[in-house]
Amino acid sequence: MIHKTTVFLALLTLALSFCGCESNDPDWVSFNITFKAVYDGQPLEADKNYTYGNRTINFSRFSAYLSGISVYDGNESQSISEIEYIDFMAGGPNGVKKNFNAPPGNYKGLQIGFGVAPNLNNRKPADFPATHPLKENEYWIGWKSYIFTKVEGNYDTDGDGALESPITQHTGANEVYYEAKLLHDFTVEPNGDITVEFDLKKLFTFDGVLLDLSLVDNRVTSHTPSNLALGKKMIGNLNKAGILK
């Protein structure tokens, strides 16, 4: 009998560990979150040039893993997704709409983990089902880490109007992961919609000053795992670049 109970508890623990914290509670309701990227308030579009200080910039890719997305009521957080991969530009300027379930009611904000939470990042693509966001596309064998965020594009370094300098800012590694709350009152109701918007100009702004993209080390972080400082700085700014609507 003890043996059976032990086995049952072990199986239950295993099942719960795979379920994460999300619930299939029938009282929960379905609602949508649109993940959208803008630049200085304008919709972010590929092949469109934007002003960056007195220079020009464009973007071809902006993607991010967001872990442990939770609704926050002012006291507690309730997880609604273990992890999402958002390719912001894949959906065009209107962003990417995803469906979630949560207890209906009023909330003060969303809690979001920026990047891949270490408990997931320490695993390998082969550990995940084929439909899981961590299946493999963004796994970097060399780092033994997922690529948490990608910002790619081009920058006019010398001011001649030609966007000759590539931007390839990739971040990853457990050290750069962090969690934060985007605060804004909202209501979860059946088929309701909220928007999480990231402004890339704010992402590149530190203490009111734009990151100096004339420096190659500020444009390219894709293959410098030792350059955790910039990786931390950039992903750390996602919280400031994000707003909840």
Partner: protein, 396 residues
């Protein structure tokens, strides 16, 4: 009598002759292997015992996507394998899926442009089907115009520059065939031949294509995932470090390959402009590739990055097969692109930074570096896959 004879001729003899002629004609036209006309329930005497099939995969490979609506079974795969290699689906029974996706070429045809039954060349080179099960999510073909293997399998049969058939014709041939109805029965549980349709055929072919998975026994797999570190020589290690941008950037430059050809399968299945053509406007690409599907100008000139596993078996290279050798491919990437606005930004960062360049420019790869990357690409060769008896042509 003559009158009687005339009357016999007009009322009896001509109809008899006509009937006999029709019978002779029907006998002559009928497939000699198929004396049976399908009837309702004609397959009920054949057992239907589907056995689920778990696709073998290397331990370090991701799990294989499989749709609930088409789970692999032993008999489904056997049927799919036969259909894949059988020219029966083409209008003149001369061309099969394997004509463009032959096992010797790691499921390509090693031609710049594939040739259909009418001798007409397509406009793109055939893609390898190795590990194709993993890329279906991101879209199939070079431009991602279909999302599933089941949808993809339907296309070449009716393509006028490929098999140039109609599915109704192909289905009639399958229904009347002496062996296929029984194989469809075993795979899908149909009770009579008339139930065979194009969707079943496509499902079976998709089941077979899903088992085209690497063996995981390439030199690279053994070196990297089984820690058999003595397998690589110095040049292969250098090539691998450059491929994955792990060279530390001081001794070895970054070749930037893995950004498009990353992950375990060495492709993320995503779409890139890899700097092949110089255009002044994104609408000027002769072959707009992904842009034709999305309607997004920024996708013009982008194509799906193919797997680099077994790349040695599958020349020529690129969507239009413009490069015959890996040397030509590496020469292309070492030119650092054309500066077209939607080119992948990594193209311009291949090789060491040119000292003093402002704006910063990269030098591409030198002769040793190119050769080292090519030598690394050879370590991705998977002969165990090519020799896997489960995926060979069953008609040989």
């Amino acid at each position: 009598m003559n009158q009687y004879r005339t009357s016999f001729s007009t009322t009896v003899r001509y109809p008899l002759l006509a009937t006999a002629g029709l019978a002779i004609c029907l006998l002559a036209c009928r497939d000699p292997k198929n004396p049976i006309t399908p009837e309702e329930g004609d397959l009920l005497n054949i057992a239907y015992n589907p056995v689920a099939y778990t696709i073998p995969k290397p331990a370090h490979f991701p799990q294989i996507p499989m749709p609930d609506s088409n789970k692999n079974t032993v008999d489904g795969i056997q049927l799919g394998r036969r259909l894949f290699y059988d020219p029966i689906l083409s209008a003149d029974s001369t061309m099969s899926c394997a004509t463009c996706h032959g096992i010797e070429g790691s499921f390509t045809d090693n031609k710049r442009f594939s040739i259909g039954i009418d001798g007409i060349a397509g406009r793109r080179s055939s893609m390898s089907l190795l590990n194709v099960a993993y890329v279906a999510d991101n879209g199939l073909f070079w431009d991602g115009r279909v999302k599933t293997l089941e949808q993809q399998s339907l296309k070449p049969v009716e393509d006028p520059i490929e098999m140039h058939n109609t599915w109704p014709n192909a289905v009639v041939k399958l229904r009347k065939h002496p062996e296929y109805p029984a194989l469809f029965r075993k795979a899908f549980g149909i009770t009579d031949s008339k139930e065979i349709d194009k969707y079943m055929a496509a499902k079976a072919i998709a089941q077979f294509e899903r088992i085209l998975i690497s063996s995981g026994k390439s030199k690279y797999d053994q070196f990297r995932f089984e820690q058999k570190v003595d397998l690589f020589d110095e040049e292969e290690i250098d090539g691998m470090l450059m491929f994955f941008d792990e060279g530390g950037s001081s001794k070895l430059p970054d070749a930037q390959c893995f950004h498009c050809h990353g992950g375990i399968t060495l492709t993320g299945g995503q779409y890139f402009n890899n700097g092949l053509d110089k255009v002044t406007d994104l609408n000027d690409f002769q072959d707009k590739g992904r842009g034709m599907i999305t309607g997004n100008k920024n996708d013009n000139g982008k194509f799906r990055a193919p797997t680099l596993r077994n790349i040695v078996y599958s020349p020529p290279y690129m969507h239009d097969g413009r490069f015959n050798t890996l040397e030509e491919v590496l020469d292309h990437y070492s030119k650092n692109g054309n500066g077209v606005s939607n080119e992948d930004p990594f193209i311009r960062q291949i090789g060491f930074v040119i000292p003093g360049s402002n704006p910063v420019r990269h030098a591409g790869l030198n002769a040793y570096q190119k050769q080292a990357v090519i030598k690394f690409l050879h370590t991705l060769t998977d002969t165990a896959f090519i020799n896997n008896p489960d995926i060979q042509n069953p008609f040989r």
